[in-house]
């Protein structure tokens, strides 16, 4: 260059200053774009949570009506001659409480349809619990019909013409009277968290689906965790490096990417058709989801095992530890946080899975809380799917409330994952 030896570069020149300014502008712009992305993502999340919560919060409350019930043995069809306690209890549980409620509602509220069709169930349970109520008159809060529910929650738009409100003028009048008399209240919907599905929105509960989900996840975890970890240990520590293990590795990686509905078809073909297992049972759902979760656990466990520093392996081998001792005493403890994180990510995915379970019959309407892994059950995401399909107006908020329950379960699982990871990492 002609100017070699002498420096002609002027760092203060106008062009140079303009260049510096442009650089700063670009830097700021880049940072703002990044920040913008974060804000957009966060606001989507906030919007989602807000919508679900504002829709779903109503699902945890329900309208209840006060009725003075006269537990007349004659109406209930219970004979006073039932002397033994056991016989009396059987008689009460067999008794038909519907006429009792209907007549009381007709007499006191002027319309028996203001009370939920299933309100008698809770009344009967109360009497079964305490048979001494028979013959007495009590004021009880009974579950109101869906109409009462939406009126009490202010979900009726009175700006609309009366014939488009979805609620008859007579019902509105009855509701107003009840409110003036203080015979209607919005109370915590305990049934939502303790009951299973129902065709009546005011009686439908999430408990059955939650138990179904827990049973299904227990099966999934019980199958996929030991299998996945053992597979990972074998492939990492014992398997010779050859064509066959390469093929196995590629297959596992591909399995992790297979759409979940394919696993549903597999479960349908294998567990239901070939082995003839019970449809809709958590055991089948759990096995199907275990197939889906397995590759996730294998891959994350292998990564965790691979990331254990080789110096630890050398140290243990150098002191004369056997292969098994190296694995159990050194590799797995160090790899455990990674293995657990992978497992919980896999389980979270399985917990939110709907498609494969539809194929193995877990979309059935199940009105009982399952008591074992072979009883018909449904799971949370399928319950959400089913309710979102319902026409009843009360199911809208039930759907959102169920989503809130599912999200709570998922978040607590992730919290457990974070807790376990921190707990085991501290040993390092």
């Amino acid at each position: 260059m002609s100017q070699s030896g002498t420096r002609k570069l002027d760092w203060q020149s106008k062009e140079m200053q303009a260049r510096v300014r442009r650089r700063y502008v670009r830097e700021r712009r880049f940072r703002r774009v990044g920040l913008g992305a974060v804000i957009i993502a966060a606001s989507f999340l906030a919007f989602l949570l807000f919508t679900i919560t504002s829709n779903g919060i109503g699902g945890f409350r329900r309208a209840e009506l006060a009725l003075d019930l006269n537990y007349d043995p004659a109406i209930l069809g219970i004979q006073a001659s039932d002397s033994s306690e056991e016989a009396a209890a059987t008689a009460v549980s067999r008794a038909d409480f519907r006429p009792l409620l209907a007549s009381a509602a007709q007499a006191q509220l002027g319309d028996s349809s203001l009370v939920s069709e299933g309100a008698w169930l809770a009344v009967r349970d109360q009497v079964v619990e305490d048979p001494s109520l028979i013959g007495t008159t009590q004021r009880v809060w009974v579950v109101g019909a869906p109409n009462m529910d939406i009126l009490a929650k202010g979900q009726v738009d009175f700006d609309l013409a009366p014939d488009r409100r979805g609620v008859s003028t007579a019902t509105v009048a009855a509701y107003r009277t009840l409110r003036e008399e203080g015979r209607i209240r919005l109370a915590f919907n305990s049934g939502f968290l303790t009951q299973a599905d129902s065709t009546n929105s005011e009686l439908a509960g999430i408990w059955g689906a939650l138990i179904g989900s827990i049973l299904t996840m227990a099966i999934t975890l019980g199958i996929s965790f030991p299998l996945g970890v053992m597979t990972a240990v074998y492939l990492e520590e014992y398997a010779p490096k050859n064509k066959l293990t390469d093929i196995i590795e590629v297959s596992i990686n591909n399995l992790a990417a297979v759409p979940s509905i394919i696993f549903g078809l597999l479960g349908l073909a294998v567990f239901l058709n070939t082995f003839g297992m019970q449809r809709s049972a958590p055991v089948v759902g759990g096995l199907t989801l275990a197939l889906m979760t397995l590759p996730v656990i294998v891959i994350s466990s292998r990564v965790a095992l691979k990331s254990v520093p080789p110096s630890i392996r050398d140290a243990a081998l150098g002191i004369g530890a056997s292969r098994l001792q190296v694995i159990l005493h050194h590799l797995i403890p160090v790899a455990l946080p990674g293995i657990l994180t992978g497992t919980i990510i896999g389980l979270s995915r399985a917990l939110g899975e709907t498609a494969p379970l539809l194929l193995i019959g877990m979309r059935a309407f199940v009105s009982d809380v399952p008591e074992g892994v072979t009883e018909p059950a449904t799971v949370l995401p399928v319950q959400i799917f089913l309710w979102s399909d319902e026409v009843g107006r009360g199911f809208v908020e039930k759907t959102s409330a169920a989503i809130m329950v599912l999200l709570t379960v998922l978040l607590s699982m992730n919290a457990v994952a974070i807790y376990l990871r921190n707990k085991f990492e501290r040993r390092w």
Binding site: P240, K241, P309, S311, I312, R313, D314, A315, A316, L317, G318, I319, G320, A321, S322, Q325, H329, H330, V334, R427, W428
Partner: protein, 266 residues
């Protein structure tokens, strides 16, 4: 064809060598890392393996406790004996072998457990101590021999990985001697340490001499001269010269040894 190994008379042993290697070859896949090496290791001395990077000295060292077994592509040929028994014999239990022939690695590698557990692990898996008191004694004795007891006796519950690099390496030496080995292999034990920590390790090696046959691999010639009584010079997978340390450093007989000692390559 490389020149034949020059072996000084003073290291030739009629019998009684702790470990002997005869015509040992090591292949990594197609590549030959060690070529027909024969050497005797004596219990009473520290033997140093020196040579430039990639000369096969570490690879050869790892044959003595069969650590090369853990590398899939490594193949070892020839014969290595411990007290006259072939260690590559299928009947030889590799787990016991590694307890008898302990190893200290290049990078300090304590287990991510407490100091106590680091020492107690070896004796426990080999069933050397059943009672807690016995184990306490082994831990104290090993740490004392490694010159670490006074520094750590009040914090045996702390993690072994929380110590300084030099302390970690002495902990690894203590861990190796806790199972009462006959031979200790050291693979560049000071290459990750500062000069002060290095000096302490060298002192320690000197203290341990006589109780164990010690083989140390080092790329540091001054270190070999300081700590060893026997020196073997390796180059390109061959054992070039083996003799008393003083003779090797003052009066090398092979040309390649002389060139390396005087710093002409390496």
């Amino acid at each position: 064809m490389p020149d034949a190994t020059v072996v000084h008379d003073e290291v030739v042993m009629a019998d009684g060598a702790k470990m002997t290697a005869r015509d040992v070859d090591v292949f990594y896949g197609e590549k030959q890392a060690v070529d027909k090496v024969s050497i005797d290791v004596d219990s009473h001395y520290v033997t140093a393996f020196i040579g430039p990077s990639g000369c096969g000295k570490s690879t050869f060292l790892r044959c003595f406790n069969r650590m090369n077994d853990t590398i899939d592509i490594a193949r070892v040929g020839g014969r290595i004996e411990l007290d006259g028994k072939d260690i590559y014999d299928p009947k030889m239990d590799v787990v016991q072998l590694r307890a008898r022939v302990g190893m200290v690695f290049q990078k300090p590698n304590p287990f991510p457990k407490s100091i106590y557990e680091n020492i107690a692990y070896g004796p426990r898996i080999h069933g050397l101590a059943s009672a807690k008191a016995d184990m306490d004694e082994i831990v104290e004795r090993s740490l004392t021999r490694a010159g670490l007891w006074n520094e750590v006796k009040d914090r045996l519950d702390e993690s072994g990985t929380a110590m300084s690099g030099g302390q970690q390496q002495r902990l690894c030496i203590a861990r190796a001697i806790a199972v009462d080995p006959e031979v200790i292999l050291m693979d560049e034990p000071c290459s990750a340490l500062d000069p002060i920590a290095t000096a302490r390790i060298e002192e320690l090696i000197d203290d341990l001499r006589g109780n164990y046959a010690i083989v140390i691999v080092t790329h540091n010639m001054q270190q070999a001269a300081r700590v060893s009584q026997r020196t073997a010079f390796f180059h390109l997978g061959n054992l070039v010269e083996y003799g008393g340390t003083e003779a090797i450093f003052t009066n090398p007989r092979a040309d390649r040894t002389r060139d390396y000692i005087t710093g002409r390559f390496g």
